[in-house]
Symmetry: C3
Subunit: 346 residues, 3 copies
């Protein structure tokens, strides 16, 4: 309990061998109750004990040992670290790794099979490069960063400390820049840089383009999920959350702590203020002031938009009622109804 | 004909050297007519013979040999298998493959150049690992499964039999789980597993996260297209169809036979019933009962939503008609029109 | 100036060491002013000189040397080529590359570490294959084409000349084709080809499926951004622009010069005419005539749709006004209001 700072009720001698969901946990495991929607599963669960969010504790009549914490997900961090220690790091450079001239390795780095490091790459202490990593000329990676297998860094990319890049991440690829000439699109050289600051995590197969001129920047502590697209010259502030399949077009700026829901997007040259929340599947085409929550396409104030959405399925009814008014109230003998076309539900 | 169980009309001695679309087929090829929209192309096609869906046969006046089948796509399976035999498997472990301690290989496995298998990996009979595959410690892959080049399996992933993973698929990457503390997001260790059951196919560059605690599961016979995102603890039932660029947020459950249209998504902690169909580009945020078809964002009953969509472009007209009613019927001398703002089309 | 064909005002002896944005440029750099939204940044910029779009020149009061050009992005091409010469090509085959039987290499090709070329691959002059490239049996790649690291070409793919494929691109993967039989989905063999014509560029982690029967074709000069999905038998005309995370379902045809905004999609078996523009996040489900601009889901005429979108947030007001009319005008004593349900804002 000291580990999670929680409050214990029930038998204090209870010990657990693992943590699981209510549905999966066995008699020697601790089950998680973090959201109201799972409360109904408590009864049927055979879990030996419960880890319960404080706001769900009051209404819960259950005899099992129980640990009550303010934030069960935060409590999981030390618990899981104890129960599932991370795999041992084995410093060393695999004999099949190819290192270019002038590569500088920090202490205790681990470089996997078939990794390829270009000339002048600099790795901080304890950096780990997974199998088949391809690290372009002149890249720099800060201490304790972890690149899972199959990551590509184009030349000159700068990765901070404590960064995690998942399998298939591409950083520093050319931005999408062309000049249209009479007979086709000519490529504009993409000569800017790409900076991933400390404590960033980027999910599998996500892509971060380098700047055209100037840098693309992923701010300190920001977290990107899988299959996220960040175009050239985007600047993402610190502590942003970009969930799966989100995308940001060129030169857009995100402030601090912006949260983007799944499959949402932001158009090019847009400024999104600090703390803005963008709903899943939404598309932001205009600047958004700090602190706002927006949803929809084009994205707009969430409250107003949700009220409107609730009424969209009732459009046929709306047309019907309008037509009835037009007939009965205004022109009972078939007067002007200029727009009463087939299909309007009238 | 015996091969496809069809009915032949025309010269029974006709033989074909290939199968093609109506536009592409030559005089020695069989052309496919499977949908009404391509009926107009029959006349101009120089195909030597036709493979025709039964429901399109009646109205078709064409003198060429013709094979009529209930389901032309099903008929293609044996035909293409005969005309385009799959590439020969060449069992063996490429000398450049790196195998960790305790790897167990079934009979006739084929491991490509530069593949890397971690400690304790177990491969069933006839498993094929493409070039540059990276198979994490302790993974198990069932018999006859095929991994195309550049696949990443994180540690401990379990892949069933007869599974196909296309180029760049990532399975078992960390889910997107953080606890927000005052000064940033701290990573919650993702210690669950990832199970891909038998007969699953996963398209290029798709990503399946491991569970946070508990497993992520892709059910037997389900098919995922390219660039699909499956978050932690999602459970996909058997025989689901997830088309390109679909995404499913964490802890969501899909029943059996769910069909997701292209670029659609399902939010977190949602339950989608058996046989549900989700329209392309739709976003499901709430539970959907079995058998329903939903479209839109937020997704709602397809019939009602499509009727409403047809009316959305007529909103300006609606406002105009309403305003006219307000002026003429109710307040002819400029009475109360509290909301007649600029831009309402009035 | 001869380099960019522009008009110079100010000190003609000025020389620059680099190009940057207005915000980043230093006193020895040329800053770009290409769009009105950045005009406000001119005053604060310490750039030594300005590269200005002709239509922004007139209103600009600034003493610095200035180069005025019609299209600043086009002007960047020669300037950046001079200031940032591309990395030197080092022809040669890395000793770790694996070449199958019958591979034919043009002159001055460059093949990176751990690349794997299947039997019968044919590379034109000056082709470059990045680290870990996996080139399937019988692929052909035209002269001067560049494959960045981690590209997968399945067997038999044909890549034209001057093509650029970014990290993690997959070309020729199986299309998503199944026949539903009573107890599951059976895979329809995907035996068609995949053709990427000259001067195409494809962004990181994009996926192009091979045809089922017949070819998938990416037309000459078309540019695809990151994480784009192109399904089987799609035919993309010349000079199309597909921005990030767009997707095209099977057998769809795009004409010449089609532009797809970010995260947009086109359904299967659709014909999109020459010069069509599809708005970001839109979904096209029906044929679109040449030259049209469409937005929304389902996509429809952009002008009409945008006028309608502007009114969607006002639906609650619409219901309120309608209800007022019904009460006051038609049925003042509580007459029929059959649809006045809770939540309609009345």
């Amino acid at each position: 309990m000291a580990l999670v700072g929680g409050r214990l009720s029930g038998d204090p001698r209870f010990s657990v061998r693992g943590i699981a969901s209510l549905a999966d946990a066995g008699p020697e495991e601790l089950a998680l109750l973090a959201a109201p929607r799972y409360r109904d599963q408590v009864g049927a669960s055979v879990a030996g004990a419960l880890l319960v969010a404080a706001d769900l504790d009051a209404g819960l009549a259950d005899p099992r040992p129980r640990v009550v914490v303010d934030d069960p997900h935060a409590a999981l961090i030390p618990l899981l670290g104890r129960l599932h220690p991370p795999p041992t790091v084995r410093p060393g450079v695999h004999p099949t790794a190819v290192l270019g001239r002038g590569v500088v390795l920090g202490s205790e780095v681990e470089i996997g099979p078939y990794a390829v490091l270009g000339e002048g790459v600099v790795l901080g202490d304890r950096v780990r490069i997974g199998a088949h990593g391809s690290i372009g000329t002149g890249c720099r990676i800060g201490e304790d960063s972890l690149l899972h297998p199959h990551v590509t860094l184009y030349e000159g990319v700068r990765i901070g400390a404590h960064v995690i890049l998942h399998g298939g991440v591409r950083v520093g690829s050319d931005g999408f820049g062309y000049a249209f000439t009479g007979d086709g699109h000519r490529k504009v050289p993409q000569v800017g840089g790409c900076v991933v600051e400390d404590d960033v995590e980027i999910g599998a197969n996500s892509c971060i383009d380098r700047g055209s001129i100037g840098d693309t920047v992923i701010g300190r502590g920001s977290k990107l999920d899988n299959l996220v697209h960040v175009a050239h010259n985007v600047r993402i502030g610190p502590h942003c959350i970009l969930t799966g399949q989100t995308g940001i077009a060129g030169s857009t700026v995100l402030g601090a702590g912006v949260i983007m829901g799944g499959q949402s997007g932001v158009g090019g040259h847009v400024v999104v203020g600090d703390g803005v929340r963008i709903g899943a599947k939404s598309a932001v085409f205009q600047d958004v002031a700090a602190g706002k929550t927006v949803v929809g396409t084009p994205a707009s104030d969430a409250g107003a938009m949700r009220r409107a959405w609730a009424l969209v399925p009732r459009l046929p009814e709306l047309f019907r009622r309008l037509r009835m008014l037009e007939r009965v109230g205004k022109a009972p003998e078939g007067g002007p109804d200029p727009s009463g076309q087939p299909g309007d539900g009238g």
